[in-house]
Subunit: 153 residues, 2 copies
DNA sequence: ATTAAGTGTTGGTCGTACCAACATACACAG
DNA sequence: CTGTGTATGTTGGTACGACCAACACTTAAT
């Protein structure tokens, strides 16, 4: 071994208590869990795909631009993600008869199926992610973060 | 105008209440604020640079590998970030006399100065980020996220 | 003397989030 | 009807944080 040197690995105290730092660490943990879940049960899909499938299942067919606005995903990223979903026949794209530039995207039965599977995986990850908190704390946490996120400013 | 089409922009209900989703939105907001702060007051520095300066100021000179472990930044990214810090004379690198492969990194007075400036900027961003919460809620939020983040595995 | 392990560096990848530019399609004002 | 403006889908970028593999080199352990 080469000089113990005692790396505590602890975070600089400057960061430790700062909300932005803690949120970035929480995100790291969260996206790590999600990434692992998608990797083992997701057939190469990622969060963008899940978001799009969720929007389509909930609100029905929509144009790509609409999807982009509703999911807060950039148009260009919507295009790319839909191409991947389409290649797995989880969605279908068809030209809007009333507007030949626009494409109407529809989720397929297979798409719904996969969405429901992903739901289960993601629910499991919520459990894992929130494990350190009691049920009451979980509710509190979710309420507080919701408030933070809904800030229009 | 081209067909109102009514984009509420609201999130799919599947996502709305999930902790991992909320955390990702919170992180987005947080890193947006930080990015803007660094852009206007940071002289091109980013969060990696701040982390490294903070570690150096708090724990004194360290080798790059040590820094990497203490800040949880990959060795290769430490190398790159230090090169940028060095070019601004905010840190100095010197070969460890006891180990010719190792480089000891030291923060310069200018580095400390810049760190203190960044501290102020980042403190302001905490305020902005936490604005939607009352002081009691802020303490609660920080306590809960800390607990989430300290989860070992 | 070998082997094992740590160190700094180079050169990649991935995922999320953006942005700019473009061709095409449509809506509306005149 | 004609022009102007705006929406749409697509391509091809950028940034940033996080990671990984490989390499040359140095030192420690056996």
């Amino acid at each position: 071994m080469l000089m113990p040197r005692h790396d505590t690995g602890r975070t600089p105290s400057r960061l430790e208590g700062r909300a932005t730092w803690l949120v970035s660490r929480a995100y790291l943990r969260s996206s790590g869990l999600l990434g692992a879940g998608f990797e083992t049960h997701g057939d190469g899909l990622r969060s963008y795909h899940y978001r799009l499938l969720a929007a389509l299942e909930e609100w029905g067919p929509a144009s790509q631009a609409e999807l982009g606005r509703k999911t807060a995903i950039d148009r260009s990223d919507v295009t790319a993600a839909l191409t991947e979903l389409e290649s797995r026949t989880l969605v279908e794209r068809s030209v809007d008869p009333e507007h030949k530039r626009r494409k109407i995207v529809t989720i397929t039965p297979a798409g719904v199926e996969r969405l429901l599977e992903l739901d289960k995986v993601i629910d499991g990850i919520q459990e894992e992610f929130l494990a350190p908190l009691t049920p009451a704390q979980r509710r509190q946490f979710i309420a507080l973060v919701s408030r933070l996120v809904d800030a229009q400013h």
